[in-house]
Symmetry: D2
Amino acid sequence: MKIGIVGLGYWGPNLVRNFLSADGVDGVVCYDVSERNAARTKKRFPMVELAASYDDLLRRSNVDAVALATPVSTHYSLGLEALRAGKHLLVEKPLTTKTSEAIELINEAERRDLVLMVDHTFIYTGAVRKIREMVDYRLLGDIMYFDSVRVNLGLFQHDINVIWDLAAHDISIMDYLLQQKPFAVSAFGATHFNGVADMAYLTARFENNLLAHFHVNWLSPVKIRRVLIGGTKLMIVYDDMEPSEKVKVYDKGVDISGQDSIYSTLVHYRTGDMFAPRVDLTEALSLVAGEFVDCIKTRRRPVADGQAGLNVVRVLEAAEASLQQGGRVIELAKNPP
Amino acid sequence: MKIGIVGLGYWGPNLVRNFLSADGVDGVVCYDVSERNAARTKKRFPMVELAASYDDLLRRSNVDAVALATPVSTHYSLGLEALRAGKHLLVEKPLTTKTSEAIELINEAERRDLVLMVDHTFIYTGAVRKIREMVDYRLLGDIMYFDSVRVNLGLFQHDINVIWDLAAHDISIMDYLLQQKPFAVSAFGATHFNGVADMAYLTARFENNLLAHFHVNWLSPVKIRRVLIGGTKLMIVYDDMEPSEKVKVYDKGVDISGQDSIYSTLVHYRTGDMFAPRVDLTEALSLVAGEFVDCIKTRRRPVADGQAGLNVVRVLEAAEASLQQGGRVIELAKNPP
Amino acid sequence: MKIGIVGLGYWGPNLVRNFLSADGVDGVVCYDVSERNAARTKKRFPMVELAASYDDLLRRSNVDAVALATPVSTHYSLGLEALRAGKHLLVEKPLTTKTSEAIELINEAERRDLVLMVDHTFIYTGAVRKIREMVDYRLLGDIMYFDSVRVNLGLFQHDINVIWDLAAHDISIMDYLLQQKPFAVSAFGATHFNGVADMAYLTARFENNLLAHFHVNWLSPVKIRRVLIGGTKLMIVYDDMEPSEKVKVYDKGVDISGQDSIYSTLVHYRTGDMFAPRVDLTEALSLVAGEFVDCIKTRRRPVADGQAGLNVVRVLEAAEASLQQGGRVIELAKNPP
Amino acid sequence: MKIGIVGLGYWGPNLVRNFLSADGVDGVVCYDVSERNAARTKKRFPMVELAASYDDLLRRSNVDAVALATPVSTHYSLGLEALRAGKHLLVEKPLTTKTSEAIELINEAERRDLVLMVDHTFIYTGAVRKIREMVDYRLLGDIMYFDSVRVNLGLFQHDINVIWDLAAHDISIMDYLLQQKPFAVSAFGATHFNGVADMAYLTARFENNLLAHFHVNWLSPVKIRRVLIGGTKLMIVYDDMEPSEKVKVYDKGVDISGQDSIYSTLVHYRTGDMFAPRVDLTEALSLVAGEFVDCIKTRRRPVADGQAGLNVVRVLEAAEASLQQGGRVIELAKNPP
């Protein structure tokens, strides 16, 4: 199997490195509109082939699949071309800039029986998979909130704002862990330098009083990557800046034991042990590459499939609309596609 | 000078302790509707006098001033009685539950030439005063955002939600540091146990792209007390959980140096030294007590005067309205009182 | 029961506060050679009686026990007087300045059937008791080392060096947890300001390759209070500066699985979960006071008995000798008293 | 200029990578007795040449210099051969296993006018260079102590104990910063698994009450890389685990202001600001490679020259002797070579 990798800027070379060492991959063919990017990649990985154009790449019959690490705005058209050329498709997050485009890609892939996968890298980390395990076993009780902070200084993007750049990660994590769809989204942001919002706060509301919130910021003096998840039984802190104990599970919570008057209930705090499960520290992107290859071979659906990509785009699109309207609450359809 | 202290639950005894050791205070007279609270205070501080009723306390001509540490809903009526009885007034934060009531208290105090002060304890801490100093010297450049997180497990309040309980602190800090009034406020929250919101996110928008945000939460497994302030010249992290280095000042930021195309500007990151100024660790409440006494003696205005109290209530009131309406953006008057 | 408390400088008032609220204590009688200290204590705790002299205190037949918070050099003579006057005795750590004196106090107490207890406060903390529990259940495997760091800026003592001041704490913790006696001790230190060593490193060697080490320092810019305990099965970090998760237990270690050559064994690292057990945060000194009272009532032996005090003094005495001789290794008797 | 790199285990490939991208280096020739190591290196860096034997490498007249990343026990003989073949020499730390051997290498290099450099990587880090700058400007006042902790789980070495493996780093940092030679060294250690000491404590004593101490440990559950340096004017914490603020400078200390009695001086604590200077985060090994190349070109002496290597070996040798003798204090010559 040969993989075509398109877009060799910041993230593309990571895809190259991981596909080169993925089991079952016989070769990597690269392409970038920038010859400088292509040459730099060839220098660093002398074993890759370079394609002369995107068309050249798509025409190669020994290339089974395409991975796109190009700007978001190109995902839809380049992806559609790849699918139409019969290639399986891995797309950098977020999948597209519009839900309608995401749906088209999903349908096209389905029609042609091709694998469509989104590079939601974080849901392949040991930390997030461990938390999902705990969710699946219902260890957390009812989840009350999902609170995410992803802030640091830079890197500014020119073509997309901080929501599409950073919040895309956290929304994909939320979607994977909560397995529910929000009914309302809002976003506030500010633009200081570059014409695009460089900081933003997103809120997503779910049934059953579940609230999700995201703080993304390119202008923070300190780097914070932290998710708090509050369950009625257990609470979790996932701190990606911790070198090893990334997930801490707290046996903490609130117990209700009757009422102390007709007006108010008796609330007790519960504080027990904390534990930090060992998490697999394998590079997530190597698991992404591995899953893509495996799904192609076995025609199974990847965890980060087109639907997962669509779920994320749907929230991003609503957040963008809210941002443009000064934080107006955007309602989402009850039963979206 | 004698001080009457009313409300001897959680915070009142701290007022008693600090007024007892304040210069210029000759005695403290206490009152609480709960005889158990009163007795416990008398046991711990044998030197205080107990009043038989609030009326009894107000009738005592040797009591010059009253400090209220009672539930928020009582601040207005008890405060008004105290002012009408000719007593100077210190009120636990927040000043009142409505802006209209805050304005009435301010007017009453002015009419009678009495000191009206709010116990915005945090603005008397060494940390916040040090940051204000830097703001006053314009060291931060333009302030781009104020981001505050105040979360922990408990203590649940029965009569007020988490916004009135916790965000009141941070809004008072913001008001003191930014010295501006927001033009729009919104709030999202969730209620899980007690009939009142136990977690909430507030956004306040100001002119010039300045954005303020507050996360308050009674359901967090970890205790976080952290404010990020982003200026164009310097950025600040104020972490109240740090035992000594509470304020860290980062010489970090973004420089714009022309354009790299017609579409986008060239953005450079600047990373310089960090420094943590020594901050005064004197108990803030002792400075609150000292300022109240000094203002009574000299008839000067306290830093945390009625207007400061009103500014905070105004934001809280709007946040409450937004919370009730599912996060609808509440516009505030351009030139409020 | 009445308790006489002697020495009202830094630590004495803490004893007063805790004995005043201890069950079964009817009153506290205080004495200090400094009238200023005595008056300050009386002001803070109006319910205590003041004795006119140490003799006065000892002559009072309704005083059942004496707690000494006086300088170390006075413990022996004052303690002996108290025992001879028939009083049970609690002595601030370290018990005495010489092993011979410690033995005399032990013998005197035994002869008169009086309780002799040392205020090894730390072994009454929830954290240390939790670790002891794990040691008792043999969860750690063989203990390989005990490494302690207790450093900060100040407080300089005039009469004793940093070993007697700070290391006394850690040696008492070690003695309680390891339940073994070292066969050799050495100490290195330096003196910069006050004529007494203000920083020192102690090593204590035990059978079976168990090594203990202590870093104590009055000249550190940061405050560190941390013990590492390495077992063959589990490893522990006890960090007293952590507000809540003071004890962290690591399922980490080394496994030996045969040899990879005639020269060397195959060593594998094991990294599993970490957990932080909830620890009781009750003020340790209140448990010290409680245990002293209970031992008097029931005539049982306190955990921190004279023998525990002697064990600590024995190590301190050897460390002092080593320090005086530039770090010479001091051998200790195999079967000490 | 071509560089021969010998030893392609753990560290050698890092040398290859850095010399490949060093200015002025035209090629890299590699050799390892293990063909597997050689093949793996060739695969990762297709542009290197492989030599058939060490002799082959030394015979190549276009190879100007040799870098040794072989086991310590081979440094002397392989290094001597390289120098005798007229090659400049860079040796992995520590330089040799004996001072006598280090002296021979120094003399041989001098006689032949060849560059001899030791890979004391840490003294080329931005953090250590920044501290040295402050030392050079006498900003710290008199240095009172140097306290180093370098502990983690693994990696066990088979051929050398933890002192030669880990403490070599810290001793090179100490030597670079203090620029003094200790007069006495002692070391305590313990051996649990592998026949070599896996944890150790070293003390080095200097004139003027300056004390240095090193804790090195392969059996710690947590990774600590921290140096405290106490000066009479400023104190420094160098924490290599911090991602960015690696060096913190504390304006803290002790002031002496007369005597409060004939027995003791009045000691005051001084606590001022803390600052964390920006430190250059360039990979230190690239600076090592750059300096080696530059010294060859200009025939100047590297900062980490043979004498620096000898200074470190001298302390290691004494520590080893002390370790073998149960911690006996080893005196060092006043005026060593």
